[in-house]
């Protein structure tokens, strides 16, 4: 079965979508590639594609992210050019998560079992009694 995957590069990765495309072209597999602003969309036979994805991930293990996509690249049923313009709704989620990828990349790069991670607790609303005291002071 032919499947489609998004390959999304972290905005801080040195790998460009065109680098990934070149690698795929050189592999001479029967894989369709479409470059996009956040990476590439590739479509091919599942087995060959999964092998290729290992090589692509190795280009920047912490800066390349992969997810499934339902539609093949340029599918007329989803292509904005043929469907009255406007990005498909799911595009905004990719854009939203893309902004977080540099943080995840760095975390993956620094991930070691022995490293202690202490996250300070999130801020909580001010205690009511303290707020009352502040109001009294401010308004007195």
């Amino acid at each position: 079965m032919r499947i489609t995957k998004y390959i999304i590069t972290s905005p801080e990765s040195d790998i460009l979508p065109s680098d990934i495309a070149m690698k795929i072209y050189r592999s001479k597999n029967d894989v369709n590639v479409k470059e996009t602003c956040f990476g590439v969309i590739i479509n091919g036979e599942e087995k060959a594609l999964n092998e290729l994805l290992k090589e692509i991930r190795a280009m920047d293990p912490n800066g390349i992210f992969i997810k499934d996509r339902g539609f093949p690249p340029g599918d007329a049923r989803r292509c904005r050019g043929r469907r009255g313009g406007g990005a498909r709704p799911g595009f905004y989620m990719i854009e939203h998560e893309s902004k977080m990828l540099p943080l995840i990349s760095k975390a993956l790069a620094s991930e070691r079992e022995d490293m202690d991670i202490v996250c300070p607790p999130k801020k909580r609303p001010l205690d009511l009694e303290k707020l009352e005291a502040i109001i009294k002071t401010e308004l007195s």
């Binding site: 904005r80 469907r83 009255g84 313009g85 406007g86 990005a87 709704p89 905004y92 854009e95 939203h96």
Partner: protein
């Protein structure tokens, strides 16, 4: 090609997106999606006034903002969300108001289910496209020459003959066989006007049977009943300039149309059950043993508060009717309760989907049942106008509009 911007939440997942596109295609329009950025969606509250939990509704609002900022992106707008979603109902209504207040683009608001088909959407979409395509024709304020109109409705077929801005003959028959009924109504109007069919310079046709009847008579104008009735109503009520609201409670469905300078700006068409249509009033008259034409006068003598009536479903409505009569309620109170119940449903379901601005004009055969406009007046707290020839509104609108096609 007319571009209809789709601001929606849920049609793809309800399996009806294709139906929307099919309806648009059928009326020569194309569905478009205004381009917005992620930032536009995340910051939608700043420009629209609210942000909600469902992202696709935020996307719809961001697209609405984009259209207002760039009105050239679309020719008309449809706002569509899932039926029974409270979050979407609030936003759908607010988007409609937003577009209506800030642009001159016609808006169609609709809540769908998985059962919504292209056929359901077709007349609405046709009206939307007509308001864009034939703006010049719809702006026409007077009828010229000798023209006629036929309104092939689900319950009755109406016809008028007009000459130099005056109705000179009318015909009215129950719809049985669509073409024969149209022939009969047309003949009646011609005979009342004292003119021959061959003398008519142009014939316009509207209503459910418009395609069949239009083909049969080789009519010059075949047009859906939303734009035609809106035009006919403001013409008859002499309210062609400025805002007006047209309410047409029909035999099978109801229409509420917000009109500006004679052109529909927003409209709804529907009715969940026959309990909210003329059909229920017919049934009431029959149960009371009176003619439908006497129901209104009887209702005016009654008080709806004396009867518990809920015609949300025609079956339950009939039960209420039977129960109230068996409990000794007065016929006049029952008649008024039936009128109030129908008016209340149109108020609750249809009038919430359009901007109600004065004058409010009630048209169609049901507007002659005096209790109905009275009930609507009490619900809206606004005077309701029922113009002369209100029952012939579609035929008058068609006759008026077709005269515009005779020139040039």
């Amino acid at each position: 090609m007319i571009r209809i911007a789709e601001l929606a939440c849920g049609p793809e997942y309800s399996g009806i997106q294709k139906e929307i596109e099919r309806a648009a295609e059928k009326v020569g329009a194309k569905i478009v999606y205004p381009e917005v950025s992620l930032e536009d969606i995340l910051n939608v509250e700043k420009k629209f006034g609210v942000k909600v939990a469902s992202g696709d509704l935020n996307l719809a609002m961001a697209r609405a903002v984009r259209i207002i900022e760039n009105p050239d992106l679309a020719d008309a707008v449809i706002v569509m969300t899932c039926f029974r979603c409270a979050e979407a109902a609030i936003i759908r209504s607010e988007i409609r108001k937003f577009i209506h207040e800030k642009s001159r683009l016609p808006v169609l608001s609709y809540s769908f289910t998985e059962r919504t088909t292209a056929e359901t959407l077709f007349t609405r979409m046709e009206a939307l496209v007509t308001t864009v395509k034939f703006r010049g024709l719809l702006a026409r304020e007077s009828q010229k020459g000798l023209t006629a109109g036929i309104d092939s409705g689900s319950t009755t077929t109406k016809s008028v003959v007009m000459k130099n801005n005056q109705v000179i003959g009318t015909g009215w028959v129950p719809t049985i066989e669509v073409i024969q009924s149209a022939e009969d109504a047309y003949d009646a109007a011609l005979s009342a006007a004292g003119v021959n069919r061959a003398d008519i310079q142009g014939l316009g046709v509207t209503g459910y049977g418009r395609f069949l009847v239009g083909k049969h008579f080789d009519a010059k104008l075949v047009q859906e009943e939303i734009t035609v009735n809106a035009k006919g109503a403001v013409f008859l009520a002499n309210a062609q300039k400025g805002s007006a609201t047209v309410i047409d409670i029909g035999g099978m469905d109801n229409k509420a149309i917000a009109v500006h300078d004679g052109i529909p700006g927003g409209f709804t068409m529907g009715g969940i059950c026959a309990g909210a249509s003329g059909r229920f009033l017919e049934l009431t008259a029959r149960r009371l043993g009176i003619d439908i034409t006497d129901l209104g006068k009887l209702a005016l003598k009654g008080n709806y508060e004396n009867v518990s009536m809920n015609s949300y479903c025609i079956v339950f409505g009939t039960q209420s009717l039977v129960n109230s009569l068996s409990m000794g309620c007065k016929p006049e109170d029952v008649a008024m309760a039936a009128c109030h119940s129908v008016a209340e449903q149109v108020y609750e379901q249809q009038l919430q989907e359009v901007e109600v601005k004065e004058p409010v004009i009630m048209v169609g055969g049901t507007s002659l049942i005096e209790g109905l406009p009275k009930a609507m007046e009490s619900l809206l707290n606004i005077n309701v106008i029922v113009p002369r020839y209100a029952q012939f509104v579609g035929a008058v609108g068609a006759s008026l509009l077709v005269s515009g096609l005779l020139e040039g």
